[in-house]
Amino acid sequence: MHQALPYRTWVPTTGGGNSVGPSSATIEPSDDPMNPGVGMKDVTCVKKMVSENAVIVFGRRGCCMCHVVMRLLLGLGVNPTVFEVDEEDEAAVVDELSRVIAGEDAKEGRPQFPAVFMGGQLFGGLERVMATHISGELVPILKKAGALWL
């Protein structure tokens, strides 16, 4: 089931929609009110977030490419969840994500940030998102994943 997540613009202080499970959620203040990031020390939530969100973007904190992906998806009318990864958590998160992916085709290998998951599956990075959008295939995929309603 895919939730419609409230977009952070109207809620300057984080909290609500994104926190899942045991809230050892260290919610770091984000410089950018437009960016609904949730930093979590407990990385096992990663798997749950991937399965519970229509679209989720994993990216390093402050990464501008992650910002690009987010702006693109926002521009299309999608409410992407963004998981900002701290440097110290990076290895752990990548491991966790690799385990998530390994369930499907292992062709993707270790994911690189920013990593976009759609409908519970790894979609790809910024390049793939761009290419798919230019070829006109992104919107149908987003609809199929439940991230967009016509």
Binding site: D32, G62, C63, C64, M65, H67, V68, V69, R71, L72, G75, L76, L126, E127, M130, A131, H133, I134, S135, G136
Partner: protein, 362 residues
């Protein structure tokens, strides 16, 4: 000008050497100004001419002085002679100065021509650094080998592009088969993909060079967006050239333009965020303390991200080209590539015209 002291002596003999000394002074100062060949020979010629004249004068003077052997007229004679020699010296000095100024003028014209030539050559990517261009602040002396290689490759790329455009033009007029036309289209497309590969390599060498579009001509740079043209803008230029399009094609092209625009906007916003991050990193701490190495170290790390932007922008350009090729028929694609190629040629020509436009002398 060297003001070596000239000795003004009343003696007739030494008086002869006085104007010669002045001539050599003019010559010396002019030679040090660094205009080698013609000027030196001109001066030598002029010197020889004036030497002959002064010798004539000196030969002339003994004559009349013989007549005035009486004591009473001797001082008058000397005064007259000195005045004559002074007039002579002044005249020669004026002639020397005139020659000197003429040399300066012609050198100035030559310098302006050289500057223009360099500008033209630089626009074609044949000159490394472009030190005379006002856009290059400071040293172009440190030649980046990666960039030097790129500029050279780009020069060849433009030449190859020109010949491909000619081929496309001929092929379209000759109504060759679609199969043969497809080969030309593929070649032209791959040529652009090669450029993106070249740019990616050069971006690792100097990303700011790529971001500023330094290899491009001035008119092309006017349209710069993250190291190249905006794909959506190029589509606007191209589409009217492709008539007639089917309804489906019109729809597809419309969607492509919109997707391009959205992707461009996302990249632009990402760039703005990077600028903000960079500005914050540079300005961290107290501005004005005079020590800022740690801030710059942080900022340096952030700059790596600029390379990604150049790559992503080129990736977008490549994807747009490929999508257009999918939408269009082979013949339309050929026309489109021809139109695109000539559009760039026109912009380059415009840059040349602008660089060589008649200007008021400085």
């Amino acid at each position: 000008m060297n003001s070596s002291s000239t000795h003004f002596v009343t003696s007739r003999r030494i008086g002869i050497y006085e104007p010669l000394h002045q001539i050599s002074t003019w010559g010396e100062s002019f030679k040090t100004n660094g205009c080698p060949n013609t000027s030196a020979s001109t001066i030598a010629e002029l010197e020889a001419k004036l030497d002959n004249q002064s010798e004539d004068t000196s030969h002339g003077t003994p004559g009349p002085s013989e007549k005035y052997d009486q004591e009473a007229t001797k001082p008058v004679d000397k005064v007259q002679r000195r005045l004559a020699q002074n007039r002579e010296a002044a005249r020669k000095s004026r002639l020397r100065k005139k020659a000197y100024v003429q040399e300066l003028e012609s050198s100035r014209v030559k310098l302006m021509q050289l500057e223009q030539e360099l500008e033209r050559a630089r626009q074609q990517g044949l000159y490394i650094g472009g030190g005379l261009d006002a856009g290059h602040l400071g040293f172009s002396g440190a030649v980046n080998s990666g960039i030097a290689a790129f500029e050279m490759e780009y020069g060849h790329w433009v030449e190859e592009q020109s010949s491909q455009i000619c081929e496309l033009r001929t092929a379209l007029h000759a109504h060759i088969s679609d199969v043969e036309l497809r080969i030309l289209v593929e070649t032209a497309m791959n040529h652009y993909f090669n450029l993106f590969r070249m740019k990616a390599t050069a971006a690792k060498a100097d990303v700011f060079y790529m971001m500023s579009g330094m290899w491009k001509t001035s008119a092309e740079r006017f349209f710069l967006w993250i190291g190249g043209f905006r794909p959506s803008e190029l589509l606007k230029v191209l589409v009217p050239q492709l008539d007639p399009l089917t309804d489906q094609q019109i729809l597809d092209v419309c969607n492509l333009r919109q997707s391009c625009q959205q992707a461009e906007d996302a990249l632009t916003q990402g760039m703005e965020k990077l600028q903000q991050i960079l500005a914050e990193a540079v300005a961290a701490g107290q501005l004005g303390e005079g020590s800022y190495i740690p801030q710059l170290a942080t900022a340096l790390e952030k700059l790596e991200a600029v390379v990604s932007f150049v790559n992503q922008a080129d990736h977008l350009r490549q994807e747009t080209l490929q999508q257009m090729a999918r939408i269009l028929t082979v013949r339309q694609a050929a026309r489109g590539l021809l139109a695109l190629g000539e559009y760039f040629q026109r912009l380059r020509a415009l840059s040349s015209l602008w660089a060589t436009r008649p200007r008021e002398p400085a």
